[in-house]
């Protein structure tokens, strides 16, 4: 405020009053408004559950398929008459890719978390952490394209000469790109819990003559185990819900197979395929996407809740 500007006159009464009725009204209006903002998040959950269950119910009613047949059917052929809607091929594809990708992401993510939390000098750490975050910000469609551009041709170059047929869309390349994609997730979540282990524990181990390796693997890791397991479960859930990378890498052929070089279809891919396909709104095929979505939602939600439970139930509390 410039010095020659005159202050408006304020009576002492006004200065000490707690405000007009209008102001207290505004205060409560703001409280209500903020509450409504928070309510939006609850409504979102309700919306998801209502949409999925109502439309799934409609699917079961229209297609005349029982819940048990849907959950245990091994064939997914909506074109046949009568159409067959068995979700198992989709669940299989989803689990294969989730398992394969976590097999890549867990060891690498955990090792890199240990490096960042135990070994890295502060300057290296300050450089690498943002790099990992940038990596986590790369959209999944880029990874999908990477599968088509590099991973699949590389697999072909390696395996075709020894007589293994590699399809253009295959489960293995999807596993690799999804695995690479969730490494930053595993490493940043695990690093958080490893760094949270109190210094005193490390120092007492060093004082007893332990080496850095022993401190990392026998003191810090067990102390933070619940958090590390929780991050693994979250990564698994993320791999299950992953869509675009899998659409571009693994293709859309629902089947139960152990051959990693053939195309499989995941639940997410099926949902995309149905929306982009010719199925008319309200037809059983169109409605089946909601039933598959419900199954996907239940699976990921269970894993997320499990992850939270592990974190809380098995946490070693220090201090």
């Amino acid at each position: 405020m410039s010095p020659n500007e005159t202050k408006p006159f304020v009576s002492p009464d006004e200065l000490w009053s707690t405000g007009s009725p209008l102001r207290s009204l505004a205060e409560s209006a703001i409280t209500v408004g903020l509450f409504l903002c928070a309510l939006v998040t609850v409504l979102t959950t309700t919306g998801i559950i209502v949409v999925l269950s109502v439309e799934s119910m409609e699917f079961f009613r229209q297609s005349g398929i029982g819940l048990l047949d849907f959950l245990t059917g091994t064939e997914l052929k909506p074109e046949l008459s009568p159409p067959k809607y068995g979700i198992l091929p989709l669940v299989w594809g989803t689990l294969v890719i989730a398992a394969g990708s976590t097999m890549i992401a867990l060891p690498i993510g955990l090792l890199s978390a240990i490096y960042l939390s135990e070994y890295a000098p502060k300057r290296v750490r300050n450089l690498l952490k943002p790099a990992l975050e940038l990596l986590a910000g790369i959209p999944t469609i880029v990874y999908g394209y990477l599968a088509l551009l590099i991973v699949t041709p590389m697999l072909k170059a390696i395996f075709e000469p020894i007589g293994v047929r590699v399809e253009t869309f295959n489960a293995l390349s999807a596993c690799i790109v999804v695995g690479v994609m969730i490494i930053p997730l595993v490493s940043s979540l695990s690093e958080d819990v490893l760094s949270a282990v109190p210094r005193g524990l490390r120092e007492s181990a060093y004082g007893l003559g332990a080496t850095k390796f022993e401190v990392s693997t026998r003191i810090v890791l067990p102390a933070a185990l619940s958090g590390v397991v929780a991050s693994f479960i979250l990564a698994l859930s993320r791999a299950i819900g992953e869509t675009m990378a899998v659409v571009l890498a693994a293709g859309m052929r629902p089947r139960i197979t152990l051959n990693p070089f053939t195309s499989v279809e995941t639940m997410t891919t099926y949902i995309v395929a149905v929306t982009n396909g010719e199925a008319s709104h309200g037809s059983p095929k169109y409605l089946s996407l909601f039933a598959v979505g419900m199954a996907l939602f239940v699976m990921t939600l269970t894993l997320n809740i499990l992850s939270g439970l592990v974190l809380r139930r098995y946490r070693e509390v220090y201090q």
Partner: protein
């Protein structure tokens, strides 16, 4: 004579202990480098694919290549959709993505920050707070495609009630993405609010500020860098999302650019997806160019966010 400390029985597995440590450290370091490696492979491969044309300069002509790349990206941003690889570009997608950025920013940031302020500054700890908090944590883990299903049923089709349905419009896509990023914004804003020291709040309240005055004039400004970082990161997530927008109808091809939130649209990642699916090899240049545009946009946003956070984290 007292036993020497160097006697073997006091140093079990000495060699193993001496060697396992550094080896493990190296393994950990290499694992960390995979991240950096992947980042460079992604960029390198995409740039190489973008420049793969007959008659292109060899890779060591860096200056020429850089200029070519620049020309390519500039051209791609201006060209409309086309089934001819030489004339295909991303104008509609870039415009759509910018619209989406604005819409999601306008809708998700106020609601997200509001919800976070309510949870941190207004509501007393108790059952209600715990329910909302658990709910938000779970929402953050819901796969993006499920939000796409929600948007499809609620915004695009309004449960089949034609008069309320928004159809495959920008606003329907924007609402869907807003719901998708809302939990992320709420959680990061809450974290930012928690770093504001309590003494600041108590001082404001002691001077007679109302709760809202305290929040507006003291807590929010103090938490601003953290909030900014979180919102920029979540907006960049919204820009990169493909699956939910495929569900709520970002069109494969549109004739005219959107002029209002109630027009049909497409976004950059969806266009990239459509070009990537195209079996013609010539489309590789187009797809790779599109990915570079997307990555440039996102990496700029994310780097800004990270810089904001690091700067304020140090001085704070």
């Amino acid at each position: 004579m007292s036993p020497s400390i160097a006697e073997p029985k006091y140093q079990p597995h000495r060699m193993a202990r001496r060697w396992a440590g550094p080896l493990f450290g190296i393994a950990c370091f290499l694992a960390t480098l995979t991240g950096v490696l992947v980042l460079s492979v992604v960029l390198g491969a995409v740039i190489a694919a973008a420049l793969r044309q007959p008659g292109a300069a060899p890779w060591y002509h860096l200056g020429t290549n850089l200029r070519e790349l620049f020309d390519l990206l500039l051209g791609l941003v201006q060209k409309p959709q086309s089934s001819d690889p030489l004339r295909a570009g991303f104008r509609a997608g870039v415009v759509g993505s910018l619209w989406m950025l604005g819409l999601v920013g306008l809708m998700a940031i106020p609601v997200g920050v509001g919800a976070a302020v309510y949870l941190e500054e207004y509501i007393a700890p108790g059952a209600l707070r715990r329910i909302i908090q658990t709910n938000i944590a779970n929402l953050a883990g819901v796969p993006s495609i499920v939000y796409g299903i929600l948007g499809l049923a609620v915004f695009v089709r309004a449960f089949g009630m034609k008069e309320y349905a928004l159809g495959r419009t920008l606003i329907a896509g924007g609402l869907t993405l807003s719901l998708l990023v809302l939990p992320v914004i709420v959680i990061s804003t809450q974290e930012a609010l928690r770093t504001v020291p309590n003494s600041l709040r108590q001082a404001a309240l002691a001077l007679g500020a109302t709760r809202w005055q305290m929040v507006r004039d003291h807590v929010l400004p103090a938490a601003l860098p953290g909030i900014l970082t979180g919102t920029i990161l979540s907006l960049s997530r919204a820009i990169g999302e493909t699956a939910p927008l495929l569900m709520v109808g970002a069109a494969g091809s549109i004739g005219v650019l959107p002029r209002s939130p109630f027009d049909r649209y497409t976004v950059l990642p969806v266009e990239i997806y459509n070009y990537a699916k195209n079996p013609k090899v010539q489309f590789q240049t187009v797809t790779a160019g599109g990915i570079l545009i997307l990555l440039l946009l996102l990496l700029t946003m994310n780097a800004t966010a990270i810089i904001i956070r690091n700067r304020y984290a140090r001085s704070g």
